[in-house]
Structure formats: C-alpha cells, structure tokens
Amino acid sequence: MFKWIHRFGSAPFVYRLAGLLGPWVGWLCLIVMLVGLYLGLIVAPADYEQGESYRIIYVHVPAAILSMFVYVVMAVSSAVFLIWRMKLADVVAQASAPIGASFTFLALVTGSLWGKPMWGTWWIWDGRLTSELLLLFLYFGYMALRAAIEHPQSAARAAAVLAVVGVVNIPIIHYSVEWWSTLHQPATITKIGKPSIHPSMAVPLLLMIFGFQLLYLYIVLLRTRIGILQREARTSWVANLPEIESSGANRV
C-alpha cells in the first residue's frame, strides 16, 4: 500500500481528489457550524454555575481539541515522511502547521476571555495554559525552521524531526489538568463513562468540534494542493491542468 502511495503518480491523484472533496467539505462545514452555533448560543440553556459565560466553550474547546489533533496529524505525517520518505506526507505536515498554530492561538485567546470573568485572571502559569503556549511555540518553531533552512530537503527533514519530538507535549497538555490541578477545570466530554454535560449543551459542542474538524480538512486539502503545485511545478501533468492553462491565458 505504501509503495502505491509512494509512486510519483500519486501526486496528481491526490491533487485532483483534494480538489473534488474541497467544495463538499467546505459547505458541510458551514452548515454544521451554523447549526452548532444556533443550538449553542440560542437554544442551549445557561450554565447553573457560570451563567451565559460558559458559551465560550463552543469555540474554546473545539479550538483547543483541534490544536492538539492537528499537531498529532503533523507529527504522524512527519514520521511517515521520515521513515518511508513519502513526499506527500511532508506536504500534509507543512500544510497543517499554520492551521494548527491559528487554532492554538484561538484556544489561548478564548481561554483568556473565559478565564477573566470565571477565575478573575486573564492568565496563570499553570500546567494546561503553559503547555498549550508551548504548543504554539512548537508550531512557530516548525514553520520558522522550514523558512530558515534554504535547502528544501534539509528543511523538510529538520522540521519533521522537530514535529515528531514535540509530540511529547500532547499528552502533557491532555493530562495537565489531572497532574497539576489548578484553575483549569478537568475534561468534560472526554471523561470516559460518565459525561458531566447535559445533551442540550453536549450536542452543540460536538457539532462545533466536528465543524472545526471539517474546517481543518477543508484548509488542509487546499494547502496540500498548494504544496503539490509548488513541488511539481515543472512537471507536464501540472502544465496540462485545465486550471493552469486557463490561468495562464487570463494573465499575460
């Protein structure tokens, strides 16, 4: 199977597949998010402890979960790239980095906006917040490393090693609320067996998480196409793409 993927011919296949899936994923994402927001902001009741402020959960938790999910995707693709020399895996990892960074930033900002009214502080150097901040720096480091090394192959390999090593931070983020119990509340929906959240709040939350995942998928498909175009710019299949031919005719 890996040999099949490894083939040079898979780049056009992935490029076209990503182009086909893109619009479907995009529209589904929009619908899921709109329904999730409607149920979360309007239909769901206020929290008995936190009042209306808890509604920040509908963007904070999806952003935080995705910030880790995207990193795992990046680390696994990087490992695949390092072990099997699969170029497309590197394309996916590179495409994921800015998205993951933006989700991490979003998790930190919305968490801060939630922390102020509930904890009385914008920021605290506890395990969860600090390890999430470290995640942001891992994304930045990955992107900076790629940009700093001139030779593309060396840049890809160095960045992939960083991504793989940095994955150790993910369990730290996840278990931080149990290991060092401070202000951040423990997990709500991922508690196995006994979720402590009512369906009227859980359903919109799950929809928003799914919506964020679809957004990630939409963007990563698009950015993978960009990465393939850049790497395969000199090949004849790229030159013969209908969008390339029309784009060339419109321009010059």
Binding site: R55, T110, R223, L229, I244, S247, G248
Partner: protein, 68 residues
C-alpha cells in the same frame, strides 16, 4: 428586556462572549481566505512558468530540459 437584547447582553458576560465569537470568526475566515488567495497566486505563478517553458521550447531552445 427583549429577547434580542437579552441575547446580546449574555447575562452580563457580553464583553467576554462576543469578543470570543468575533476572534474565532476572524481566525477561521482568515484561514479560508489566506489559503484561497495563496492557491490562486501559486496557480498563476505556475501557469506563467509553464507558458514561459512552452514558449522557449517552441522557439527551438535546446536547453528546455535543463532545470532552471
């Protein structure tokens, strides 16, 4: 208080809830539009390069296979 006003008031937490929603919207849309713009830009650059290559090969350039 009307329903609409109550909705925007967010039980007194409007100053925290709405900025959260706004920044999320901005970040998500920025992801979409920056990526789309970049895709179009790369498409255009690739097309220009492919055209240049096609022209150089039709004018009989012998180094068409040399990677530039």
């Amino acid at each position: 208080m009307s329903d609409v006003a109550a909705f925007f008031h967010m039980g007194g937490y409007a100053a925290y809830v709405w900025p959260s929603m706004l920044i999320s919207l901005v970040v998500l849309l920025a992801n979409v539009f920056i990526s789309r713009a970049q895709y179009k830009r790369v498409l255009r650059q690739t097309a220009q390069r492919a055209r240049a290559k096609a022209e150089s090969s039709t004018t009989g350039a012998k180094n068409q296979n040399v990677k530039s």
